[in-house]
């Protein structure tokens, strides 16, 4: 009877195990359980050894611990990739899609609108379209910047939530550790508790990389990022440190270093923050910054359709770096401007709005030494222009009433304003450009209408007398009362000193009588200068097509009359003194006709006398770029865009309101779209700041790189996901419950029991007959 009872109990345990399996078939993390049945102990009865049936020994989980560990690891990998794909997908949609299309499309639209406008630059609608296209690009950049920041904020928020989940799981695992230890102290495995713990570890692996080590007593130590999250006796909390926008780090409470989490969703999100977003920020900012720089370089030296500027305030404010209460003493290169100022030159054109006459002024910029004050002084020294600092430390330029200014590289149509080349005034120029080697006490002796006089030169009048400049010398002379009284004026023309009478015509004259400084200036004692009835008045036209800025000096080959003296030539020298052209202005030349100098520059001369002996000359600034120093871009004067990067870029507000301010012209002439063509050229040009590639290629590179990275992440996720599925499938094969199989097994047993019962009935009946016989 006892044997039967034992068998029944064993069978009951077995069936209960099956029932437990079936009931938990849908329970996450449940491992199939089996009952171990063993023969009971034997008894010796009447010298015979008899069995006592069977006992249910232990219910075991069917698990492969190595497989489980591998699955945990793989879960971390898959979750990390999923989080990375989320971030990359958002970024891709930011770059390549969204309202108004991707950045590439907006750039194409912008340059397309410029192209359309270039045919009719005065068309107001087309100008509005072009400005709006520029505004669309700016908006897109800001969306990208804001979107990237949102990705960061979102990632940080998710990290915080997941860290909280990690801590909850750590607490659960720790609690299960204790329960398992207590439960298994009796010797029986705590299968369901172990399943629950493994499930918690599995959930943990979705959030972070996990390493779980079980000690000999059955307690689990869980390492996260190389640091202990759960120990056999307790658990530590994970903490997030973040700026809330762009960066986050995670560390175990009390640890001195961050946890090196690379797996799971947290690892993926940290990777997005650490590896991906900064690069995305940098790419967007780099493209935006270079776009601002290049378009502003062109735009700032163009002329709006409304004509030269009357007043302009810089968009960027200067910064009082040394905190002395003023910005004037700051170096241009260290005055808080968002773009760099370099050594170069700025051309300022002053236009008489009534007559249209323009004079061109060159302002050299020595970036290493020039202060804000130096720049303002140089600009204010230009006739009809004043430069000042407003209350917000911005530079304000103001033209005199009736005058306008611009910075275009257009040619000065009347370069010899003072008439130093065949002008009607009596004129003598230095034989060469300064600096001039003067000594203390040197004199320049003249004789004018009021008689002879001498100008004494003293060291205090020069920065370095041994290297006196034409400008310094002219200032000394012009300050001399006798010099002024005799109707003389001195001028610096491109480094050469020119002394002239203020009066014109044959009655005007002066003589260089003597002077110890004459030798330095290349003058000869006794030279008599006489005014002339006619003025050659050189006229320049055309558009300079050369690649670099230059200053050309025009000198006659000898003394003679333009259009009369046989063999009279006009030699043209570049700023290095190298002759670059020679024009026949002698008997074969018809005064007033245009001669092609070179690089698109044409020259016409009136009839008149020129003198090589008196160093007749005039200078012409030919500019490919009106501002090679980038000071206009740095200050934000006459720019298309304001801002410095993707987050701040915007079209200048007054330009947005009034598209007439779009600087489309290079010459100021009506219908001229020269500056538009330069802007258009940026569409295809290699941009130095982008490594020599065009904007289109730069954006394509970034978008393409993003797409490639996304594609790689997706490919990796697919293959890792497949491996994960494969591991899960193997786990299910080993540990999972096949309900159909379990139930079929039970039903089969049921049928077998019934069949056996039927046999027993038949055997009993037969035996009853036998008993009757016996």
């Amino acid at each position: 009877m006892n044997m039967g009872l034992k068998a029944l109990l064993a069978a009951q345990s077995k069936l209960e195990t099956i029932g437990h399996n079936v009931s938990n078939a849908g329970t996450a993390g449940y491992s199939r359980q089996t009952l171990d049945v063993a023969t009971s102990h034997t008894l010796r009865i009447n010298g015979l050894i008899q069995g006592t049936g069977v006992d249910a020994q232990v219910v075991r989980r069917t698990v492969d611990l190595l497989l489980h560990a591998r699955l945990t690891q793989q879960t971390s990998v898959v979750s990390r990739l999923a989080a990375r794909i989320d971030g990359l997908s958002e970024a891709e949609s930011l770059y390549a899609g969204g309202t108004g299309g991707g950045l590439n499309q907006l750039f194409k639209s912008f340059f397309g609108s410029l192209s359309t406008l270039s045919s009719t630059p005065e068309d107001r609608n087309l100008r509005s379209n072009a400005v709006q296209s520029a505004a669309n690009i700016a908006t897109k950049f800001r969306q990208m910047s804001g979107g990237a920041e949102n990705i960061g904020v979102d990632a940080i928020g998710r990290i915080k939530g997941q860290v909280a989940a990690v801590n909850s799981l750590a607490e659960r695992i720790s609690r299960l550790n204790g329960q398992i230890l207590a439960s298994e102290s009796s010797g029986a495995p705590a299968n369901d508790l172990r399943d629950a713990r493994e499930l918690a570890v599995s959930e943990l692996s979705q959030l972070t990389d996990v390493r779980a080590i079980e000690d000999e007593r059955g307690a689990l130590r869980v390492l996260v990022g190389g640091q202990t999250l759960v120990s056999p006796v307790g658990f530590n909390r994970l903490e997030v440190t973040t700026d809330g926008r762009t960066s986050a780090s995670v560390r175990i409470h009390g640890a001195s270093v961050d946890a090196a989490i690379t797996g799971g969703e947290i690892g993926g999100l940290l990777g997005v923050l650490r590896d991906f977003l900064p690069g995305m920020h940098d790419d967007a900012n780099s493209i935006a910054r270079n776009f601002i720089l290049e378009t502003n370089r062109v735009h700032s030296t163009g002329i709006p359709s409304s004509g030269p500027l009357r007043a302009m305030t810089s968009a960027n404010a200067l910064v009082d770096q040394d905190n002395d209460g003023q910005v004037l003493d700051e170096l241009l290169t260290n005055s808080g401007l968002p773009f760099e100022t370099v050594n170069g030159e700025l051309f300022v054109n002053i236009t008489d709005l009534a007559s249209g006459a323009m004079t061109k002024h060159r302002v050299p910029i020595d970036a290493s030494s020039a202060t804000v004050q130096d720049l303002l002084s140089a600009l204010s020294a230009i006739p009809h222009l004043s430069a000042s600092i407003d209350g917000q430390n911005r530079v304000r330029l103001q033209a005199d009433s009736g005058f306008g200014f611009d910075f275009s590289p257009r040619l000065d149509g009347t370069p010899d304003e003072i008439g130093s080349f065949g002008g009607a005034r009596a004129t003598l120029a230095s034989g060469s450009n300064g600096p001039f080697a003067l000594a203390s006490g040197n004199t320049l002796d003249f004789s004018g209408p009021l008689g002879p006089f001498s100008v004494s030169l003293q060291p205090q009048q020069f920065q370095n007398m041994a290297q006196a400049t034409a400008s310094e010398l002219a200032a000394v002379l012009n300050a001399d009362a006798n010099f002024q009284g005799n109707g003389l004026v001195a001028t610096d023309i491109g480094g050469a000193l020119v002394v002239q009478t203020t009066a014109k015509g044959t009655g005007a004259s002066f003589t260089v009588t003597a002077g110890s400084a004459n030798a330095a200036l290349g003058w000869t004692n006794g030279t008599v200068l006489q005014g002339k009835a006619l003025d050659v008045s050189p006229k320049v036209s055309g558009t300079y097509t050369g690649a670099a800025n230059d200053e050309w000096t025009f000198r006659p080959s000898g003394d003679g009359t333009i259009g009369v003296t046989p063999g009279l030539k006009l030699n043209v020298f570049d700023k290095n003194g190298v002759q670059i052209a020679q024009l026949d202005v002698g008997a074969n030349y018809t005064p007033g006709t245009e001669l092609a100098v070179r690089d698109g520059v044409k020259l016409a001369l009136g009839i008149g006398d020129v003198s090589a002996a008196n160093n007749d000359q005039f200078r012409l600034n030919v500019a490919a770029d009106g501002d090679t120093s980038d000071v206009l871009v740095a200050l934000g004067i006459n720019t298309l865009f304001v801002g410095t990067d993707a987050a701040t870029i915007a079209v200048r507000s007054d330009l947005l309101e009034n598209p007439e301010l779009l600087a489309t012209s290079a010459s100021g002439a009506s219908g001229d779209g020269g500056n538009l063509l330069k802007l258009l050229g940026l569409g295809e040009a290699g941009i130095e700041g982008l490594g020599g590639v065009s904007f289109d290629a730069g954006i394509s590179g970034v978008v393409g790189g993003l797409a490639l990275e996304l594609s790689s992440a997706r490919d990796a996720a697919e293959s890792e996901g497949f491996l994960h599925q494969s591991l899960e499938s193997r786990r299910d094969q080993i540990s999972g419950v096949n309900v159909d199989e379990e139930l079929a097994h039970m039903i089969e047993a049921q049928q077998a029991y019934r069949a056996a019962g039927e046999f027993m009935r038949v055997v009993s009946e037969l035996n009853a007959e036998l008993f009757n016989l016996i």
Binding site: K14, L15, V22, D740, A744, Q750, M760, L766, N767
Partner: protein
């Protein structure tokens, strides 16, 4: 007398045959009991087939037994249904010693088979009852819509 002797020999052969059968049945029942203990359905199925084979000859043996008893009844002049092996041995006296021994062994073997059968039957019924309860519980919770079986997947109550 020679006819009676022949009938006795035939009865001894029949009893011996039943004794052998009971012994084999007992072995199968014990093996089946072990299979039941271990939940070894395959062994249970195999043992039932063996038992089935043994039971196949039961009808012919029953016919032979009835014929022998009828003929012995004629010899002894009594109704066949009143004859048992014990009464036949008493009638035969010293000539029935062998039959008496076989009958004793057969009684003991049959009692053993009866006990094994009862025990096994009881165990089987209890197993079936337990199994039935579990199946009932599981299948009742499985959400099977018996009115729409085609959409319910593979989990069916195959007991019905």
């Amino acid at each position: 007398m020679s006819n009676l002797r022949a009938l006795i020999h035939q009865l001894e052969a029949y009893a011996q045959e039943e004794l052998d059968l009971q012994s084999r049945t007992l072995v199968v029942l014990r093996e089946q009991e072990a299979a039941l203990f271990n939940g070894d359905l395959e062994a249970m199925r195999r043992d039932m087939q063996r038992l089935d084979k043994e039971l196949v000859g039961a009808a012919s043996r029953s016919g032979r037994r009835s014929d022998l008893l009828r003929r012995l009844g004629l010899e002894f002049g009594v109704a066949p249904k009143t004859l048992t092996l014990t009464s036949i041995c008493t009638r035969l006296g010293r000539d029935g010693e062998r039959l008496t021994r076989i009958a004793g062994e057969l009684r003991e073997a049959t009692q053993s088979v009866s006990r094994a059968t009862r025990r096994l039957g009881a165990l089987g019924r209890m197993h079936a009852k337990l199994n039935d309860e579990i199946l009932g519980t599981v299948l009742a919770d499985s959400g099977v819509d018996r009115n729409n079986m085609e959409r319910c997947g593979a989990l069916l109550d195959a007991r019905v």
